[in-house]
Symmetry: none
Subunit: 613 residues, 2 copies
């Protein structure tokens, strides 16, 4: 094992030879920028090697040559995903103050005590004899520190071999008071779990060491259910066709997860049978589909889920390829459109412990909004639609390579493109930026129409020329064909603007109604926590300018990264946190927006591009 020290935090972590710096940082919980997951395509994971370490500084990969300047190379800057560790190292991580960088203002995992429900107990059994014909199962039970253990057929069936191969030295694996495995010999040093975040778009697995409470590997794939539509409604519609379609959707997501798990296991040198527990979060539809439960009645009012409390099932019931008898825990949801992912966010953000009033916003296909304060936790779901994820937008795309993620308009249009290079489309944060900038310079009016007349005359010609009439409507050219990856102009149409208006109007109405329910003005909010990938990418001043977020001083708006996943991790490594998740879901008061007569009014008010009051 190698010690790697991260500056400026001075965090030290042990990691096996052959890990990359990026993996070690993940284990240490040190945030290193990376949008490609270590594939070497984003060039964002720059870190500086501080200790003299020839093996690390020697070779510069082609990928590094592509992303790093000569000055950076000579200063010892490397890409964390490209450098494999072979000896003790000190690494300095770029402090991320620039709002444009993908960053998280805080990480919520630190405060969870390491006390998982899975425990391993090495046992030395006396050997049977004609004088002591105690059956294997009874012999095992007598040696365990817990009583009242229920019979487990698979475990019982494994005992004859496990006991005799190991000469009656074995290790019992308990999850709470459930016996889930018995292994030959003393295996207590190896104990793993999986935290799972099932997004409508992306599914992520974090492989964790339950003895140490650390993430040892993680991976993500696009949710294979995408084939049935980008949003939850299209998935529900497919599932409603019948049991075969429901099973198909379940199998898709399970297969996707199994693919990730198999890869993580291989990379980290562990077997799937050593993953004893999985804790999953996801929106309520994803949770139903993951469990194979019909989500049909989530779609129409009154939006009834089948369950809300946390659910525990055996992994083999789902076909999830961890230990067959391992437990899969789906954290509780709050309502049909406020899922366990939001509960995970609340857990990671410590929603029940924050002083004053806190607004937590997780914007994806839906916008889940939490307002806490005065010992209350209010939740609502605003049907924002998939516009923030680039869907329904002509040149919209997810925040992937080639997506315009930032826009500034001065003498001309300046763009930030993910992974550099020529743009292919625009993602949510780019859309917000573009609209905020166009609104600032008067290209679009507060009501969301492309301007005409005198206001345009004041613009530089290079900007003005970009606004053009087509036979159907106006549009604004963000990228001319010569500069785009496809050779096509990348434009924002009047319809695209409308989509964004509807989406942000829904979010704003949700925030306003929760504030009213709490009895406060938006200005009384002490902090806004932005969760999810989108929250990381967004430019706060743009979000405030168009009225997507309350107009607070920017330092009171903080990003908390994939807090849903952090919540799953916390619940995995700590039974106390899992109990707290249950408590949070019970305490949460759900406000059904569709049931509020003032919703329509707030929604209409929220359509205008202007700061929230």
């Amino acid at each position: 094992m190698i010690n790697i020290t991260f500056l400026p935090s001075r965090k030290v972590v042990q990691t096996p030879v052959g890990s990359t710096i990026l993996q070690a940082a993940s284990v240490a919980g040190v945030q290193v920028e990376s949008t490609c997951g270590g594939k070497g395509t984003c060039g964002k994971c720059k870190v500086q090697v501080v200790a003299k370490n020839s093996s690390l500084t020697a070779q510069v990969s082609l990928i590094e040559k592509k992303f790093l300047s000569a000055a950076e190379l000579s200063a010892g800057v490397v890409l964390a995903c490209q450098r494999v560790l072979t000896e003790d190292t000190v690494v300095k991580v770029q402090e991320q103050k620039d709002v444009h960088k993908r960053k998280t203002d805080f990480v919520g995992l630190g405060h969870a005590a390491i006390a998982p429900s899975v425990g391993k107990y090495p046992i030395k059994l006396t050997k049977p004899s004609v004088e002591d014909q105690t059956p294997d199962w009874d012999r095992l039970l007598a040696s365990l520190p817990v009583s009242g253990i229920e019979f487990n057929l698979s475990v019982a069936a494994s005992l004859p071999r496990v006991f005799r191969v190991g000469d009656f030295l074995a290790t019992a694996v308990l999850d709470g008071d459930k016996l889930i495995a018995v292994e030959t010999g003393d295996t207590s040093g190896r104990c793993f779990g999986a935290a799972i975040d099932i997004g409508t778009t992306t599914i992520v697995v974090y492989l964790m060491d339950l003895n140490r409470g650390t993430v040892i590997n993680s991976g993500a794939v696009t949710n294979p259910q995408q084939a049935f539509g980008a949003d939850v409604i299209s998935r529900i519609t497919h599932a409603a066709n019948g049991p075969d379609q429901l099973r198909e959707l379940q199998e898709k997501v399970i297969e996707g997860l199994n693919t990730i798990i198999a890869r993580l296991c291989q990379e980290s040198g562990i077997s799937r049978g050593e993953i004893y527990q999985a804790v999953a979060v996801g929106n309520t539809t994803m949770a139903h589909l993951f469990l194979g439960i019909d989500p049909t009645y989530l779609a129409p009012a009154p939006f009834i889920p089948v369950f809300s409390r946390s659910v525990e099932v055996q992994a083999k019931e789902l076909g999830l390829k961890i230990l067959d008898t391992g437990t899969v825990i789906m954290l509780p949801n709050v309502a049909g459109y406020v899922g366990s992912d939001t509960v995970g966010v609340m857990l990671a953000a410590e929603a029940d412990r924050l002083p004053g009033f806190s607004l937590i916003v997780d914007i994806g296909t839906n916008g889940e909004i939490v307002l806490c304060g005065k010992d209350r936790i209010l939740t609502c779901s605003a049907a924002a639609g998939p516009a923030f994820e680039g869907a329904e937008i002509k040149y919209g795309m997810r925040a992937a390579e080639g997506a315009i993620e930032g826009v500034r308009i001065t003498e001309d249009v300046e763009l930030d493109v993910i992974a550099g290079g020529k743009p292919r489309g625009i993602c949510g944060s780019g859309l917000i930026d573009a609209i905020a900038e166009m609104h600032k310079i008067g290209v679009i009016t507060p009501t969301g129409r492309y301007a005409s007349g005198p206001v345009l005359e004041e613009l530089p010609a290079s900007v003005r020329d970009r606004l053009r009439k087509t036979p159907r409507a106006s549009e604004f050219v963000l990228v001319w064909g010569d500069d785009s990856a496809t050779g096509e102009d990348i434009v924002l149409s009047q319809k695209d603007i409308r989509e964004m208006q509807l989406a942000k109007g829904a979010i704003m109405a949700g925030i306003m109604i929760l504030c009213r329910e709490m009895g406060i003005d938006p200005q009384e909010i002490d902090r806004v926590l932005l969760a999810g990938a989108f929250g990381n990418y967004i430019r706060k001043e743009s979000a405030v300018r168009i009225g997507l977020l309350p107009s607070l001083p920017l330092e009171q708006i903080v990003t908390i990264g994939n807090a849903a996943g952090d919540g799953a991790k916390m619940a995995l490594i700590s039974t106390e946190e899992r109990t707290r998740a249950d408590l949070l879901s019970r305490r949460a008061e759900h406000v059904e927006l569709s049931n509020k007569k003032e919703f329509q009014q707030e929604f209409l008010k929220g359509l205008d591009f202007k700061a929230m009051v």
Copy 2:
């Protein structure tokens, strides 16, 4: 693949080239007598090849030459285990008609109160609305009379449809505090269960109405594991070869049970999903195989089972085709060779409530013996071998159609044949009768040898002529070829007599050792209860005469029929009886005969054919 057709049933099965006829019959579910499991040592698996098929009829193996007469060979009779299939074939099988019309002295089911653990609760739910978004599962739980119900994924997944098809009128099915089903509408009038008796030779299912505590149908088939050998040791040996072989044995017995259950359901107009619980009994090996648990270490000393307490598993874990989420309960065993079948017998016989001293004997492949009194329950298992079931006896057969079940010798030999007609062989009760009668008239000596000299001169010529010398040994002709179904003489050889001596010697030794352990003489026993099919057929005076049972007045020897099955029925309809079964198995003190130094001495004493003292 080859097509093989079995007559008279006309069953056709596809089987790969290289299978034996015996294996094909097993696949087809066609019963072919075989007690050696295809090893070629019993010579019982005679079938007639009907289709002209040169490859099959060509070669006669040495084993076939040993067991088949010239007449049989020329008629196309072969041993099914010896013939490897290479092309399509038609084979005629001797049908074995089991006769189940045996009466017993008493049936123990009457005293069990009807209070099954399965209960049905009709519920009328309030319909969800935007004001009441309670999830389906929570809505259900709130309506139930029991709290602390665990989440059941299959049941939860069924709720959206069940609730809405039935307009929120439903019936919850609880097994104790486990929710196992929710059905549309009020179905509380229909509630069924299955009592299962897994014998080494025969498996039986009793379909019961749990509301009324009555048996509404029953059925039996030969245990399809027969293909792997007639006794438990050959089954254990097969299972010990590896997980695939173990699974094969499990699948065989589950398939057999599923065949019976499907037929009973069809005959009685119920669906398998209405069978909510099954309670099974069987010897400890059968119980292990039924559950898919490796029985390897039951075979060698110290004979360690994997479990002894009662086991509860979900039906779908076993593939048993009752309600998938229904519970299958295997009653507890006492030791490696005293199984839940014996616990069932104790339950039905009320072993814990009988006054004085009671001896309970269940003779099958093993002889399980129970001696109760003075608040103690002693058990032992005597390895009687399969002689009482007709195996290892040249003309031995199970108690099926054509079996000699009773013998009297006066002026000549008089026979009782099951179902009348010409005899085909002799079953256990016939053997005991034959030996007792031959012993009475002096044809065999107390030490078990065929007599010679003056004693024979006193016999009627018609009897004396039946005792004949062959080149190898003496034998007694029970049936002359003219009167037998096969045309062959049916004889009892000296070796057959020896097999019976060994079997009854083991039983007697077991009884003597239990008496000594209890501190009584056999004459102090107040009653003998004979359980099992064998107990029904036996002539009590013959059993006493040869010293298989203590010499009590015959009215103190009573048959109690399939008391193991009765025990399963009682545990199915009454939780109190199920608890009592657990108590009985815990209270039972097992005496391991192989561990008793006096066993060998008692065994040798027990070999003689004389009344027990």
